[in-house]
Symmetry: C2
């Protein structure tokens, strides 16, 4: 059965991005520090067409995260720095003409826009009728495989509160951001019944997997 | 050299206690769920004079936490449910006449009170002149051994912000509390330079150790 799988990196104080996100600072102030465990990996370099890099305990985690994923859901602020109505079609995501998704990506927004077909199999679909619709479209596109819930905090928290997430794969970075976009915000006590599957000790990060029941 | 070592259990959404702490609900609503990994352990049962219990991956962590600790610092709300001035001397802590500390415990409060000598080596000292004074007194009492920073959130966050904590030993429970007393609150970006030492996968909990530099 197709699952909605959240995988995301969080600071020790609960943020997935710093404050003041902008085109110059896509992850906000300090946000890049969250991903310092990821950048040295061979898997990261390969995603960006580069060779070399490290293999360590995170490598298997990154591989497992991508396995069986055939569609992605993200919020509009993760897609780009443009806020409000789209002024034109010029913003095409952070990732260049060949984004590292290679499958359909459903971008939640209040502002309609035509689908954007990129190289390498990635098409951005802009969904304006809410999280359930985006999930239905993503599962349809995934055709029995899984859907990755990529971020940011606002969209993730909506899916968590609606109890639509099946698995949480959380990377906890040894970083305090102090402000920004907070994960698990706005949930009530008992909103999530979680079972810890496993935790992995990796260089500069801890990866924890939870099943949501 | 004597270290100040924080060890504490946090929910996935960053709380070390739930809301509405009271004499009936010392850890607030839902707060007991944080410690469900701890209760089945032989180490927990032994602390309470009982036999039996489990030995699992958490057992070594609990043992390491207690090793070389010779004094404890806690906030007044961790000591008890009484707020404001002490109406009398009747509140003697949550732990009965033989508390599981067996060393001097320094309780931060705005309200002076005479030291309270319990059975088994625990004496509660009430410190009204701030966190630096409590730390100096605790280190003096520890005589070269380490000081445990036990909680709650308010006192811990003050020590973190003042950069007085040397080690953080964090247990992350698979629980969402939604409200309560939040750890790492009020810190600025970069307030803590952390190095992850190790993460341990244990039943229903992940234990992560950080050095603060």
């Amino acid at each position: 059965m197709s699952k909605l799988r959240l995988s995301i990196t969080m600071s020790l104080d609960g943020y997935v991005a710093g404050p003041a996100q902008s085109e110059e600072n896509p992850l906000g102030i300090g946000g890049m520090e969250l991903h310092e465990w990821f950048f040295p990996l061979a898997a990261f370099r390969e995603m960006h067409g580069e060779q070399g890099g490290e293999i360590n305990a995170s490598s298997r985690v990154v591989e497992e995260r991508r396995a069986n994923i055939a569609a992605t859901i993200m919020g509009r602020n993760m897609f780009g720095p443009v806020r409000g109505a789209w002024p034109d079609e010029s913003w095409r995501g952070w990732w260049g003409e060949d984004p590292p998704y290679h499958h359909p990506v459903f971008v939640l927004t209040h502002h309609p826009r035509q689908p954007l077909q990129m190289k390498g199999g990635t098409t951005f679909h802009f969904v304006t009728d809410g999280i359930e619709s985006a999930l239905a479209q993503a599962k349809d596109a995934a055709a029995g495989r899984d859907v990755w819930l990529a971020g940011g905090a606002s969209v993730v928290n909506q899916y968590l509160a609606a109890r639509l997430v099946d698995e949480i794969d959380l990377s906890i970075a040894p970083v305090v951001l102090g402000a920004g976009a907070r994960l698990f915000e706005g949930l009530e006590h008992g909103a999530l019944a979680l079972k810890q599957d496993r935790a992995i000790n990796a260089p500069d990060v801890t990866h924890i997997n939870y099943e949501v029941s």
